[in-house]
C-alpha cells in the first residue's frame, strides 16, 4: 500500500469520525460557530471599560476589537488543535482503543497530522463567517485581503505545531507519571510561549529563546505585525522560513518521541481493561 493512500485513509477516518459526531451533536456545532462572536462581545465589553479606544488605535494603528478578535481566533484554533492532539492519546487509552491503533499500519506522524486537519475545515468556516465580514466592514477591500491572510496564517500555525506537539506528547507521557495533570502546567506555558497575548518582543531573553523554538510563535508574530501594519516581505519570509524550518526539524524528534512512548507502553503492557 502506498504511503499516500495510507495517509488519505487515516485522514478520511479522522474526518469521518469528527464530522459524524459533530453533526450528530448539534450543540457542539452551534457552540463552535458562536464562539468567535461571543469572544467579540466579551472583548468589546472589556475593551470599552478598560482603556481608551483612541489611544489603542493611535499607538498600534488598528482597532482593538479587530486586533483582539484576530488574536483570539488564532489562539482558539492553534490551542484548540494542540489540545485535541495532547488529549487524544489519553482519550484513546481511556476508550481502550490504543491497542487497535498500535497494530494498525498507519505511521504515527500521519495520524497526528490527520487529527487536526479536519478541525481546520471548521476553523476556516468560523474564520470566514466572523473575522472576514468584520474586517471588511472596518477596512473594506484591504480588510478582505488581510482577514484572508490571517485565516491562512492561522491554519499554517496549526500545522507547523504538530511535530512539536508529538515530541512533547512522547516526553510528557513517558516520563510524566500522573498523565493528564502534566497538561495543567503545559497548556498555560504554551499559551505564553506562543506570544499571542504577550508579544514576543516584550519577553525576557530566556523566554524569548524558548518561544522562538515553538514553531507557531513565528506565525503568531507575523499575524500581529500584519495587523498593526508592520510586516514587510523580507521579515515575513524570515518568520515563515523559521516556522517551516522548525516544523521539518521537529518531525524526526516527534516521530522518535512517539516511538519512545509506545515502546515504554509495550514494556508495561498496553492497557486493555
Amino acid at each position: 500500500m502506498s504511503r499516500l493512500s495510507l495517509f488519505l485513509n487515516v485522514l478520511w477516518a479522522e474526518s469521518y469520525a469528527l464530522f459524524t459526531e459533530i453533526f450528530r451533536r448539534k450543540h457542539i456545532l452551534i457552540m463552535m460557530s458562536l464562539y468567535p462572536y461571543m469572544l467579540l462581545v466579551f472583548i468589546l465589553i472589556i475593551g470599552y471599560s478598560v482603556g481608551s479606544r483612541q489611544v489603542f488605535i493611535q499607538r498600534l494603528g488598528v482597532a482593538p476589537e479587530i486586533f483582539f478578535l484576530a488574536s483570539g481566533y488564532l489562539l482558539m484554533v492553534v490551542l484548540g488543535s494542540s489540545d485535541d492532539l495532547l488529549w487524544r492519546p489519553l482519550y484513546d487509552d481511556w476508550l481502550g482503543i490504543t491497542p487497535y491503533l498500535i497494530i494498525s499500519p498507519v505511521p504515527r506522524l500521519y495520524r497526528f497530522l490527520a487529527v487536526p486537519l479536519p478541525r481546520l475545515v471548521i476553523a476556516l468556516i468560523t474564520g470566514l463567517t466572523s473575522l472576514l465580514p468584520l474586517m471588511i466592514w472596518y477596512y473594506g477591500f484591504y480588510g478582505l485581503i488581510e482577514s484572508l491572510a490571517v485565516i491562512v496564517m492561522t491554519l499554517v500555525a496549526t500545522i507547523v505545531f504538530v511535530p512539536f506537539i508529538m515530541a512533547v506528547i512522547g516526553v510528557i507521557y513517558t516520563y510524566g507519571k500522573e498523565q493528564w495533570r502534566v497538561l495543567n502546567i503545559l497548556r498555560p506555558l504554551l499559551l505564553i510561549l506562543l506570544g499571542v497575548y504577550y508579544p514576543r518582543f516584550l519577553m525576557p531573553l530566556g523566554a524569548y529563546i524558548a518561544s522562538a523554538l515553538v514553531p507557531p510563535s513565528h506565525v503568531v508574530e507575523a499575524v500581529q505585525r500584519l495587523l498593526i501594519g508592520r510586516l514587510d516581505l523580507t521579515y515575513s519570509l524570515m518568520l515563515f522560513g523559521a516556522a517551516i524550518g522548525l516544523f521539518i526539524a521537529y518531525i524526526p524528534a516527534g516521530v522518535y518521541s512517539i516511538s519512545l512512548w509506545e515502546r515504554n507502553k509495550l514494556k508495561h503492557g498496553v492497557k486493555t481493561e
Partner: protein
C-alpha cells in the same frame, strides 16, 4: 506436514508495580505473570488457553499480539518475531482484547467499523463492502443494531462488533482474549460458531482464551491449561480429561445396612467414601466411566435389600481439573 503458525518459547514476564504506602513510601511489588510459557499452534487450529483469573492468559495474548514485550523468551507468528518484526506480525493478526470497550461511544457500530477499516488500509467500495459483510456475519444487521450508537450497545452487541473488527483485514491469525466473557447465550453461541467456521473452513489459526471449561471443550481443538504463569497440561479436551484419574463421581444415597464395603468391593471398586447421614448412607465413588458399573451397582444394592434414595453422577468441574494439575505442579 503441520504448519507452525504461532510459536512461543519460554516466555517470562514480571510486572513491577509500586504500591503507595502513605505519602512518600512506596513498596515494590513483583508479580510473576508468566514463568516460562512454551507452546506451538498449527495452521487451522483453535487452541484454547484455559486458566483461572490471574493465570497469565491476557499477558500471553498481549505478547503474541506485539502489545507487550516479554522479559525473556521468544515468540513468532507465521515465522515473524513478535518483538523484532512486530510490524510484520501486526499485518497478520486480528485481535479482540476486551468485550466492553475499544470503540468510539458516539459513533454507531457501522461508523466505528468504517473508521478502523480505513485505519487498517481499506478504502472506497472495498471498505464499504467489507463492513457490510462483517455486520451481517456477526449478526448485528439482523439485530437491527448496525446503526445504533456504540454507547447504547449491549455487551453481546459490543462483542460482536469487536469480533467483526478483528476480521476487518481478513487476517490468517486471530487472537481472542475471553471473547464471550459475560455474553448471553445467543451472542456467545454466534461467536463460537464463527470461530469454528473460520478455523475449520477457512484455515485461520486461532488462539482463544477462556476460564470456562465447558466453552473450551466445545470450541477448542486443543487446550493449553495455564495456571500461575505456567502451562500445566495440554491436549485435546478428551486427552485432558483422561489425564485426570478421578474424573467423575457417583454419589449414591441408600437406606439399609451400614456395612457396604464388601458389596462395593465385589464390583472391583477399591476407592470410595461412605458417610452416614440421618440414618442413610451416602457413598461417593470416583471413577472414569461410571456408565460401566452403574447397572451392576444398582442391581447389587437392590438385590441385597437396599433402598436407593438418590443417585447422581457428578461431572468434574473446572476446579477439579485445576486442583489436580495445580497440585501436581505446586512449587
Amino acid at each position: 506436514m503441520k504448519q507452525e503458525v504461532i510459536v512461543a518459547e519460554n516466555l517470562v514476564k514480571k510486572y513491577v508495580t509500586k504500591k503507595r504506602k502513605g505519602l512518600l513510601r512506596g513498596e515494590k511489588q513483583v508479580v510473576e505473570a508468566l514463568r516460562g510459557v512454551s507452546f506451538k499452534i498449527y495452521r487451522g487450529e483453535i487452541v484454547g488457553l484455559l486458566g483461572p483469573n490471574g493465570a497469565g492468559k491476557t499477558t500471553t495474548v498481549k505478547i503474541i499480539s506485539t502489545l507487550l514485550i516479554p522479559d525473556s523468551g521468544d515468540a513468532w507468528v507465521m515465522g515473524h518475531h513478535v518483538v523484532r518484526e512486530a510490524k510484520r506480525v501486526r499485518e497478520k493478526i486480528g485481535i479482540m482484547l476486551t468485550v466492553e470497550k475499544g470503540f468510539y461511544n458516539k459513533l454507531t457500530g457501522r461508523e466505528n467499523l468504517e473508521y478502523f477499516a480505513a485505519l487498517y488500509g481499506l478504502s472506497g467500495e472495498e471498505r464499504r463492502r467489507r463492513v457490510e459483510y462483517l455486520l451481517k456475519l456477526v449478526g448485528l444487521e439482523e439485530l437491527g443494531s448496525s446503526d445504533r450508537l456504540f454507547e447504547e450497545y449491549s455487551l453481546g452487541m459490543k462483542a460482536r462488533l469487536g469480533f467483526a473488527r478483528a476480521l476487518l483485514r481478513d487476517p490468517p491469525v486471530l487472537l481472542l482474549d475471553e471473547p464471550t466473557l459475560g455474553l448471553d447465550p445467543p451472542s456467545s453461541r454466534r461467536i463460537r460458531e464463527l470461530v469454528k467456521k473460520l478455523a475449520h473452513e477457512e484455515g485461520k489459526t486461532i488462539l482463544y482464551t477462556t476460564h470456562n471449561m465447558f466453552e473450551a471443550e466445545i470450541v477448542c481443538d486443543r487446550i493449553l491449561l495455564i495456571n500461575k504463569g505456567r502451562i500445566v497440561a495440554e491436549g485435546t479436551p478428551d486427552e485432558l480429561k483422561n489425564m485426570i484419574p478421578r474424573l467423575k463421581t457417583i454419589n449414591i444415597v441408600v437406606k439399609g445396612d451400614q456395612r457396604v464395603g464388601e458389596l462395593i468391593k465385589s464390583l472391583g471398586i477399591e476407592k470410595y467414601e461412605a458417610k452416614p447421614i440421618d440414618g442413610l448412607l451416602s457413598i461417593r465413588i470416583n471413577i472414569q466411566k461410571p456408565e460401566e458399573i452403574l447397572d451392576p451397582l444398582i442391581k447389587n444394592f437392590v438385590g441385597n435389600g437396599y433402598e436407593i434414595v438418590s443417585l447422581k453422577i457428578e461431572e468434574p468441574t473446572l476446579e477439579d481439573v485445576f486442583i489436580y494439575f495445580a497440585g501436581k505442579t505446586s512449587r
